[in-house]
Subunit: 172 residues, 2 copies
């Protein structure tokens, strides 16, 4: 790992979730399930576990999901996870974003376009929204005759913790 874009999110959220979040997740799961159903896609136990795990995070990698599931005794092979995530992307629940070596999947079911502030020390990721970019987008697009469809803005830097410790923090 010696490319400029290093660092990987170490986000392993607690395996237990608060009542409030559990409800929100329950709700979201139901939305995914019926949406897939409408597209004649099916609902298997594996798929449910993967979607459930995915919906708990803001962004996660395939290996992250794989580890999470295994840790909780809900084993699923990598290719099944890949396939499920592709389905989620195709149906507008996830968004794939390449970062460093692997693809990160953003949970966009409950939020609009957002961008990322990434600590190159520990891999900590802050998501933010800023309307300022909209103006820029349209200015640049019209100046070049483009019809815009998407964007990806990543800001890199050192978080407060990593700036103080000379050694990068290990975020959980």
């Amino acid at each position: 790992m010696n490319r400029a874009t290093a660092a990987v999110v170490k986000s392993a959220l607690p395996d237990t979730i608060s009542g409030k979040r559990a409800l929100a997740t329950q709700d979201a799961i139901e939305r995914v399930r019926s949406s897939l159903g409408r597209s004649r896609l099916r609902w298997s136990p594996q798929r449910e576990q993967i979607v459930l795990a995915f919906l708990k995070q803001d962004h996660i990698t395939i290996r992250g999901l794989y580890g999470f599931l295994n840790r909780n005794g809900r084993r699923a092979p990598l290719n099944t996870i890949y396939r499920t995530m592709r389905v989620l992307c195709d149906n507008g629940f996830a968004q794939a974003r390449r970062f460093g070596e692997e693809t990160h999947y953003d949970n966009i079911s409950a939020k609009g376009d957002h961008d990322h502030l990434i600590c190159t020390g520990c891999g900590y990721i802050v998501e933010f929204e800023d309307p300022t970019i909209e103006g820029l987008r349209h200015a640049v697009a019209s100046a070049n005759g483009f019809h815009l469809t998407g964007r990806n803005l990543e800001l890199y830097g050192l978080c407060a913790v990593c700036r103080v410790d000379e050694h990068p923090a290990v975020r959980t």
Copy 2:
């Protein structure tokens, strides 16, 4: 190829270059050479060919360089190109940026930070600079206690050509 981030640059610049550009390149080559020399890195014929080819483009992939060199009878194996590009990155002449399946190398020897407007139809890439982002960067950074070091902004859309033709253009 069915991920959101598709499309690859088809940029194969003319193999002959204008006198003006040739001079600029000659100049840049010399700067690279002496910079590497100062770091006790060496100057081989292969390296010269790779750097020469790289400096002619704004951004290119390893396979792009490989094809370019081969087309011009200056064969170089892939791993040599990879190693040379890493040297160029380490010494501030190139910048690696992952896009789609492969890594793109931006020629930053003669320009500052810039961003990309990318046509998802034909892979055409427009580079642009916009000071507006600076304000945004600092606002977001200070709000989150980050010390910024870099950024990457990609705007995706359809270029004028691809919007008219329903079929994507093949840019050269």
